[in-house]
Subunit: 218 residues, 2 copies
C-alpha cells in the first residue's frame, strides 16, 4: 500500500506527521513524502525542515493521498502542477484524504463539489465558498474522500482510516503502540468548548477573517 | 525562549513533532532541531527525513530541552557526545523534557536517579533499571524535569508545560489553534484500557521484552 503525503512550503507539520505516525504502521504500508520539487520543505513557522523524498511526477498512482494544511495551502491551491497532480492522483486512489486546510486544496482541485467535508474550524466558511458542504465534525468520510478537522485531528482520522482498511484490531494495536490515550489539560480544543474570549482571540488573528480572497473553485 | 529538540537516527517522529507544534506557538519561542551532526536525520521506519538545523555544540544553553524517543535512543544513551550534551544542557535549562523512551536517555545521562518519571508503557521497567522511579502517568513533573508517556503523550505534555510557562489562557489558545479535541475511534490507547490480546501482541513484539541489555546507569 503506497501512501503519498504531499508537502509544500509553509505546511503545518503535525497535519502531516500525525497521520504518518499512524498510517506508516499499517501492515505493508510505505509512506512517501512528495513535493513539486524533491528536497527540503520548510514548515509554516520556519523552524522545521522536512525532506520531500520524491517529486510528485515520480509518484503517479498512490493508493492513499494525504494533503496536509497550513498557510502554504493558499499557494498550493492557486493552481499549477501540485493542484493538477492532486486531481490526477485522486482518479486512481483508494482513499484521498486531508487534514486541516488541506481540504481547501482538495476543494480547489474540484474534488469536493457538493460533498460533505471538514477543515480547521476557522476555515469552514472558506470550504463552503470552494463548493464543499462543510461539516463541523472531527473526521468526515464521503465516499473515498476522508477529511479531518484542524491539525491534531489527523491522528483521529488516520486511526479511523486504519480501522476501515485493516480492521479494528490493527487500528487498536497502532493506537496502543503510539499510546494514544489523550489527556489534554483543558477541554478547549474546539470552538464549542473553549472559553468564548479565546475563540474570539483566534478569530481575530485568523487569516480567514482578514479578507483573504478565495481562489475560485473549479 | 530557546527550545532545543534533539534529533538522532531512528527517532519516532511524532515524539518530536507533537511538542514542537505546541511549544513553537508559545509567545517568543524559537524551536531549534539539533543533532550531533547537523543535516538529515532518518526516523525509525526509514520513511521520513527531518533536518537538524544545528549541531549540539552550537546550542549550549537552551531554556527548554526536549528528548524524543524511538529505537535510536539505545545508541543515544550508550554514551558519547549526545549524552554528554544532554547532561550539560540540563545544568542550565529551565525545563528538561522527554517523550516516550526519550526518558531513558535522560536516565542514562544520570538525570533521573530516584526521580519520578514516565516513558512508553513498554519501557517502564527499563526506566526503573536505569535508576528512575517509574510512574504510569501520562505526564510527570518532577522539579524541572517533565517526562511524557509514549509517542502521542508529548502533545499533552507540551500543553501542560505551555500552561505552566505562559498561563492557562495561552495554553488553551494553542489547544484551540491545533484543534486538539481528541476523538480516538477506540478507547485502546493504554495497556489498562486496550483489549488484553492486543496488549499481549505488543508485548511480544517489543524490543524491551526481548532481552535487550540495559545500558548501565551512571
Amino acid at each position: 500500500m503506497n501512501i503519498a503525503i504531499l508537502l509544500y512550503d509553509k505546511l503545518t507539520a503535525l497535519d502531516a506527521i500525525g497521520p504518518y505516525e499512524v498510517l506508516s504502521r499499517l501492515p505493508g504500508a510505505t509512506v512517501t513524502f512528495v513535493a513539486q520539487t524533491p528536497g527540503p520543505v520548510r514548515t509554516d513557522n520556519g523552524m522545521l525542515t522536512i525532506l520531500a523524498e520524491k517529486a510528485i511526477d515520480e509518484v503517479q498512482a498512490p493508493d492513499i493521498l494525504l494533503v496536509p494544511g497550513g498557510p502554504g495551502e493558499v499557494a498550493a491551491r492557486a493552481g499549477g502542477p501540485t493542484l493538477d497532480w492532486v486531481r490526477t492522483a485522486h482518479e486512481t486512489t483508494t482513499w484521498t484524504t486531508s487534514v486541516c486546510t488541506g481540504s481547501l486544496v482538495l476543494a480547489a482541485a474540484g474534488l469536493l463539489n457538493g460533498r460533505r467535508a471538514t477543515s480547521h474550524w476557522l476555515a469552514l466558511e472558506q470550504l463552503a465558498r470552494l463548493g464543499a458542504q462543510p461539516v463541523s465534525e472531527r473526521v468526515v468520510f464521503d465516499g473515498k474522500i476522508v477529511t479531518a478537522a484542524g491539525v491534531s485531528a489527523g491522528i483521529d482520522m488516520a486511526l479511523a482510516l486504519a480501522a476501515t482498511i485493516a480492521g479494528d484490531q490493527v487500528a487498536q494495536a497502532i493506537q496502543l503502540g503510539i499510546e494514544y490515550d489523550p489527556q489534554p489539560p483543558f477541554d478547549a480544543g474546539s470552538p464549542a468548548k473553549a472559553p468564548a474570549e479565546i475563540v474570539s482571540l483566534l478569530r481575530r488573528g485568523s487569516r480567514f477573517e482578514q479578507g483573504e480572497v478565495a481562489a475560485a473553485p473549479r
